[in-house]
Symmetry: C2
Subunit: 253 residues, 2 copies
DNA sequence: CAGTGGTCTAGACCACACC
DNA sequence: GTGTGGTCTAGACCACTGG
């Protein structure tokens, strides 16, 4: 693991380090193995700790490393494939659903949500919180926004809030006929509450999946799900289990 | 824009700063406007430049800011919706394709690719490079891997490489009957060549979309497309044009 | 040229996990 | 406790853009 190469091209140190470490991970370490601590590594490569950290950040972003405060830095397993947008014509909360309802409240929709829920400007919405676990670890936190008009027959349910009510709301939703749904994926950073649920620090990179469920020509429900970007590979249109092993240069040319 | 609040909760400074700046962006700045430079901003908030930069990095990751070396930091427009995986049953290179072929070579597949292209272990693959432009700016760079056996009738084409040959390869591909395709999305960082094409620095966050095109029960083509994560929102299953305006807290509760 | 963001340093202290 | 990663500082110099 030497770094004694004075680049002819002024490649940033941290980028070069990233490459060197990446190769070392492929050849000298195995999944779950714990790396030397940051101070040692920095000394070994003759750089400041901040620079070393910049390289580690890159590798963590790429899902190669996992860092935990007070514990250490370990070699991450390959990202798990998490299927999204399968079950093309199913409402959330269906029988084979990977999610677990946590809570439910009835509130006035925040402005940004109301805008996407084109229907019912000032209409109250049920807000269902759900979480998704895969292979023993939390992978996503979701907020579902369901306009009250989408589940009109909810008066029979007496639970005012909590997981029971959440399940009741979702059950009601199944009665509607789902036309289609539309997905969008973008990069975001975890808000404090999501971060906690995902066992990450605030600001951790997440993949935000926004799904609009269309029924009767209206948006009957809106899901905003934040997935851990470091551990997840989102799969669309089936084949959730494909393992893509990333080699030395990952997409080498 | 005051920061004179000594937190009772030990919220990191950069995180608090991110929030303050985010709110300022919503209320006091408009798209395209240029912010004060980092040294001034840091002084104004009474923090070190590195801390200020940490906050700016967050906001850039979220697509709120755009930073360019030698120029300055500007307020980014809302992310553009880029449709992916529409045209459910179309090969790359079809008539309404958003991509532009750049180059084409015939090589032995790198190990990581050969593994995903389950067919033909040692078989040579055509490697087609394409780029995608949307609203006047580059949004994605792609590498298409096409096993030679997928386009057997290519001998008639004499162009050895270049854009012309790339188009010829894609034209041949249309003759196959496409069964389906499978998409996966994950976070990555731009390699040097991709970064250059996307007008970003190496290591910039990108959304990597891997698509496997299935025909005759085999993987007939494999696409690895890297999208700029800062400017793009990937849309699946139609509705490419939906604008989601992010409000003050973006997904406020 | 001057001004910008990008990289890097050598420290310091804090929050957390584990013993 | 000790050891880890996370935050923060106050500098310095580099690479790039634009006038």
């Amino acid at each position: 693991m030497g770094t004694t190469q004075l680049e002819t091209v002024p490649e940033p140190k941290y980028w070069h380090l990233r490459t060197v470490l990446s190769e070392a991970l492929d050849s000298e370490f195995s999944v779950g193995e714990i790396l030397p601590n940051e101070r040692d590594l920095a000394a070994r490569f003759g750089v400041a700790r901040a620079t070393l950290r910049q390289a580690l950040e890159q590798l963590e972003l790429e899902g190669r490393l996992q860092r935990r405060r007070g514990v250490g830095t370990t070699v991450a397993p390959p990202r798990m494939g998490v299927s999204v947008g399968t079950a093309q014509h199913a409402w959330p909360g269906g029988s084979d659903d990977a999610w677990q309802a946590v809570d439910c409240t009835l509130v006035a929709p925040p402005a940004a949500i109301a805008e996407t829920l084109v229907t019912g400007r000032e209409e109250p919405v049920h807000t269902v919180r759900r979480s998704r676990v895969s292979q023993g670890q939390p992978v996503a936190a979701e907020l579902l926004y369901i306009p009250a008009s989408s589940v009109p027959d909810l008066s029979a349910i007496d639970a005012p809030s909590g997981a029971a009510r959440a399940r009741a709301v979702l059950r009601e939703l199944q009665h509607l006929e789902l036309e289609r749904h539309e997905n969008a994926v973008e990069l975001g950073s975890a808000r404090a509450d999501d971060a906690k649920e995902l066992d990450r620090l605030p600001g951790a990179p997440v993949l935000v999946v926004t799904t609009r469920f269309i029924a009767l020509g209206r948006v009957a429900a809106l899901s905003v799900a934040t997935y851990r970007a470091d551990t997840c590979r989102l799969t669309f249109g089936d084949s959730g289990g494909v393992q893509i092993h990333h080699g030395p240069e990952r997409r080498a040319s």
